[in-house]
């Protein structure tokens, strides 16, 4: 999988300069940011009139994405999509399950994430990888799935369609994840007026103003404790390490010299004193291994020329990266707080 569409155009000595300045203590980033600061971004929500929720996000480097969230009501049993036998069929046989699949907490496939990138095929490894990663984070804690249950026989099916508008200059994961986060925050589902009992057909209020937000801004007091943990959709942060230093929101040039790239998915935690909830961690192939200088410098390491590191990353660095994301008062919390301002 090639994380970046085009290989880096930097020369070996430029890469070496970049690597050295990033591995200094304190590090110097090309745009003079601190290691944990993000580039400015522009966002708007609720821009698509025909979607249940939508958002547009624009990063400072010109990459831009639109996300539309659509919901559909679907029968929970019926023709099994993945498993042939479901609750309905069991009841036919006379065995009453005290709690059906619908009542339990939903299924992963009720949330469907698709990613579309210009110039990439649908089955391209990067597109699949991105969609899976975002989906994994959304369903990891079960909070979103549980919200989609209407009653025992009906549930919402959520389609999250992510459209990258600009060519993929940098690895677009944080952009897509943050846009999906904003779109989900702005998503409203029609309010049911009847049929919430065991297995009636639900009837919905057709007044859009009465629609219920998928992620209510203030959790209902009755079940505050249970719902607070998933009160916000998760976000995925891209973290790189260069030498001993760790950087957030890497630019294209910084990605080109990264020793290791890790995607960390975090969500807000129930209590305000704990760390954030860690939902998923994935390593990503650093693009430096694909650059042409990786081969040219292979024979002898010259002074002033940089050669990507072989092997993997040490566990200490991995721990430090994850720790910085989830720590109370750390980067993850700051980003979640910043995104709150958009809605």
């Amino acid at each position: 999988m090639a994380p970046t569409a085009q290989p880096t155009i930097l020369s070996p000595s430029e890469l070496s300069y970049l690597y050295t300045s990033l591995s200094l203590n304190p590090p110097i980033r090309p745009d003079a940011r601190s290691p944990t600061s993000f580039r400015p971004l522009v966002a708007e929500t609720d821009l698509l009139p025909t979607a249940n929720g939508s958002a547009r996000l624009c990063f400072a480097d010109g990459t831009e994405a639109i996300v539309g969230v659509k919901g559909e009501v679907e029968r929970t049993g019926g023709v099994g999509k993945q498993i042939g036998i479901r609750e309905d069929d069991v009841e036919m046989g006379g065995i009453e399950g005290e709690e059906g699949t619908g009542g339990a907490g939903g299924e992963d496939w009720w949330v469907e994430v698709t990613v579309d990138m210009p110039g990439q095929r649908d089955d391209d490894a990067m597109v699949v990888f991105l969609a899976q990663m975002i989906h994994e984070g959304l369903v990891a804690d079960g909070g979103l799935r549980a919200r989609l249950v209407i009653n025992r026989r009906w549930h919402w099916r959520l389609y999250i369609d992510i459209l990258l508008l600009s060519p993929p200059h940098t690895y677009p994961l944080p952009l897509l994840s943050l846009t999906a986060h904003l779109a989900l925050l702005s998503t409203c589902l029609p309010a049911p007026v009847a049929g919430l009992e065991k297995d009636d057909d639900p009837i919905f209020n057709d007044d859009w103003d009465a629609a219920i937000p998928l992620y209510p801004s203030t959790p209902p007091s009755s079940k505050a404790k249970a719902n607070l943990s998933a009160a916000r959709p998760p976000i995925t942060l891209l973290v790189i390490s260069v030498g001993d230093n760790i950087f957030f929101d890497p630019s294209h040039a910084e990605l080109a010299v990264a020793d290791a790239v890790v995607a960390v998915t975090v969500a807000s935690s129930p209590s305000s004193t704990d760390d954030l909830n860690l939902l998923a961690v994935r390593t990503i192939d650093p693009p430096s291994r694909l650059s042409s200088s990786a081969a040219e410098m292979g024979q002898a390491v010259e002074e002033g020329a940089w050669k990507p590191k072989k092997g993997g990353m040490s566990r200490t660095v991995l721990r430090k990266m994850v720790g910085m994301c989830v720590a109370r008062g750390g980067v993850g919390e700051e980003v979640l707080g910043g995104l709150e301002g958009f809605t």
Binding site: G84, E87, G97, D108, E136, L278, L279, T283, M313, R315
Partner: protein, 389 residues
């Protein structure tokens, strides 16, 4: 509406599915019989596909069950076969590549699980392939093969399922989420691909081994950290982590963790179960699997050496030494390599005659080289070997 024929019911029908005659509660659900820090036994063998340049077969032990007469109670097994094709030249139309292009493919056989899989890879299979590529790219010394590519193809002959069949039939999934079985499969894929790459003689900085650990919870017990979880053994899996581990460098090329990781440390008190512990346990699992991998590679190489007949008489004649002396040098060299000490690279005196021997009997040199490949991961050493390939 066709009025001339008997029409089916409007609106379509669903095929009848019959509930199982026995309720889920009568089945004793499968339980983990091994300890928390014990992994399942692994069968690994290299070189089973003669047409590929490297291949390996991987199987996880299936513990015998006392109610094996019922189809619904079969314990899930994991069987993987991996073939490596290449390094081979890229087609003329391909753009210049300064290093070895790795392409990975993971495919479930249509009969791998109870639910039939199609022939076109679905997104979970492509996702596995992307993970595998990340794990392998870090260890390949790619710049030794410019303008060439290597394909790693893994077929899952039998794949683990997420939960036992009778639990599905009874509908008590307890909100279980899918995908935990994938993590064991990925770990197996990493290990088997590593064995096949070594069998193909492709230079790597180390062998990369897969390991899985998970935080599981039984209904009336506190959460527990286990190595190598089998999804059907556990009532609830809270979080799991796969890693691709390089033991000699103590590095990780691939990490894939998911689940509610930090939250599970709540209320534990005595044993912390955060992300750090999960990674450490996954490393433990990988270290345990490495012994199997190294043994399999050694066996595969020995089989190759036995298979090749060495004409010591001709070598002796070429080197102007006696036949017995040539034989002795060969075995001394082989023993030095097999001792497995990193410093046991052949001394200069021993290397020189072997180099010359290569002209006469290139077959045996080829096999001896394989031993070196896995034992000695020094880059400089591998450089001269790469030319011979």
């Amino acid at each position: 509406m066709d009025r001339r024929r008997v029409n089916g019911p409007p609106g379509g029908t669903t095929p009848p599915c019959y509930a199982s005659t026995s309720s889920g509660k009568t089945h004793p659900s499968s339980k983990r019989t091994r300890g928390a820090n014990e992994i399942r036994k692994i069968f690994l063998k290299t070189g089973l596909t003669p047409s590929a340049s490297g291949s390996a077969y991987f199987e996880l032990e299936t513990p015998p069950t006392n109610h094996s007469n019922s189809l619904t109670n079969r314990t899930p097994a994991l069987k993987l076969t991996c073939t490596v094709h290449g390094p081979r030249p890229l087609p003329r139309s391909a753009p210049f590549s300064p290093q070895l292009l790795l392409s990975t493919r993971v495919k479930f056989a249509p009969f791998a699980a109870r639910q039939r899989r199609g022939y076109i890879p679905d997104s979970s299979e492509r996702d596995l392939a992307a993970h595998l590529e990340t794990a392998l790219r870090g260890v390949l010394i790619g710049e030794r093969w410019p303008k060439s590519g290597v394909d790693v193809v893994i077929t899952v002959l039998e794949g683990e399922e997420d939960c036992p069949w009778h639990a599905l039939a009874a509908g008590n999934q307890n909100g279980r989420t899918g995908g935990w079985g994938m993590m064991s499969i990925l770990s197996g894929c990493i290990t088997v691909a590593s064995a096949a790459l070594t069998d193909a003689g492709i230079d790597c900085v180390d062998v990369v081994i897969g390991g899985v650990a998970a935080i599981v919870r039984q209904p009336a017990a506190p959460a527990q950290l286990v190595l190598d979880p089998c999804p059907s053994d556990h009532e609830e899996i809270i979080a799991a982590c796969v890693i691709g581990y390089l033991q000699s460098r103590d590095e990780v090329t691939e990490t894939w963790a998911k689940g509610n990781i930090t939250a599970s440390s709540d209320g534990m008190g005595t044993t912390p179960m955060g992300f750090d512990a999960l990674v450490d346990q996954a490393v433990e699992a990988a270290v345990a699997a490495r012994r199997v991998l190294v043994e399999a590679i050694r066996e595969g190489t020995e089989a190759k050496i036995q298979g090749s007949q060495i004409d010591f008489h001709a070598i002796g004649a070429a080197l102007n030494i006696k036949e017995n002396a040539a034989r002795m040098r060969f075995y001394r060299l082989r023993k030095a390599i097999e001792e497995g000490e990193p410093g046991a690279t052949p001394t200069k005196a021993a290397t020189t005659p072997t180099k010359r021997k290569k002209d006469q009997a290139n077959s045996d040199e080829g096999s001896a080289k394989k031993v070196k490949d896995e034992e000695v991961v020094d880059e400089a050493e591998g450089g001269e070997e790469g030319e011979g390939n």
